[in-house]
């Protein structure tokens, strides 16, 4: 069974630029999550989708971050404009349901200069 796929794996941008990350969850998983993991910390949930609807985006900085999950499968997370403090690893995860085991992708390491 293929795991959660993410791209790109690494991205370096300057502050005030925009960036987008892509995630393809495990086939059949209805729930998709985006996490931000700052170095030395645990992952922090940014947004959770159930199929193509948003379940929780309470910790998403909506003035600069946006995410969508069209057709309830793939998802993109965008940052515009980026700030220095956005430097982190962005992890995508998926699960069958919202209380089931989450499976994580390898993450995208973002560096904002």
């Amino acid at each position: 069974e293929a795991g959660v796929a993410q791209s790109p794996r690494y991205k370096i941008i300057e502050k005030r630029q925009s960036v987008a990350f892509w995630c393809n969850p495990i086939s059949g998983h209805a729930t998709l999550y985006w996490y931000q993991q700052i170095l030395g910390q645990g992952p922090k949930l940014l947004i959770q989708f159930q199929n193509n609807g948003v379940v929780d985006d309470s910790q998403l900085p909506k003035d600069r971050f946006s995410a969508e999950r069209l057709k309830g499968v793939d998802s993109t997370l965008k940052i515009q404009p980026a700030k220095l403090e956005d430097s982190a690893v962005y992890l995508c995860a998926s699960s069958l349901g919202n209380t089931d085991t989450q499976y994580f992708g390898p993450g995208t390491r973002l560096t904002v200069l």
């Binding site: 030395g40 645990g42 499976y103 993450g107």
Partner: protein, 111 residues
């Protein structure tokens, strides 16, 4: 606020010994706790889940305990191997069903 706390200091042990990692939770009572392993450059990998009505759970060389009185979970790796070196994350669902993570404890097993 609801928190998961783990010892931020790395644990450095000799191969063959038992590694014990601690996870404390505050300001709520999770129905279950989960433990994940994370290697550098990779996403977390689920290891074990223990429910509040279970005192102990085992999987091969791994053992997890859940003490609701102490508000603590202990994660043990017996007969540790250098390949067990990684960061171990404790997590639990908060009251709004969001998964919250501790900051993780880095384990280093010396050959």
């Amino acid at each position: 606020s609801q928190k998961i706390e783990q010892n931020s200091e790395a644990l450095n042990i000799q191969e063959g010994k038992t590694a014990t990692l601690t996870c404390n939770y505050t300001n709520y009572s999770p129905a279950y706790l989960q433990w994940y392993r994370q290697d550098p450059g990779r996403g977390p990998v689920f290891l074990l889940l223990i429910r509040e009505n279970e005192k102990e759970k085992r999987k091969e060389r791994l053992k997890v305990t859940f003490d609701t009185t102490l508000k603590q979970s202990l994660f043990h790796i017996t007969a540790s191997q250098p390949a067990d070196s990684a960061t171990y994350l404790c997590s639990a669902l908060d009251s709004s069903y969001k998964l919250i993570f501790g900051s993780g404890t880095r384990l280093l097993v010396r050959p």
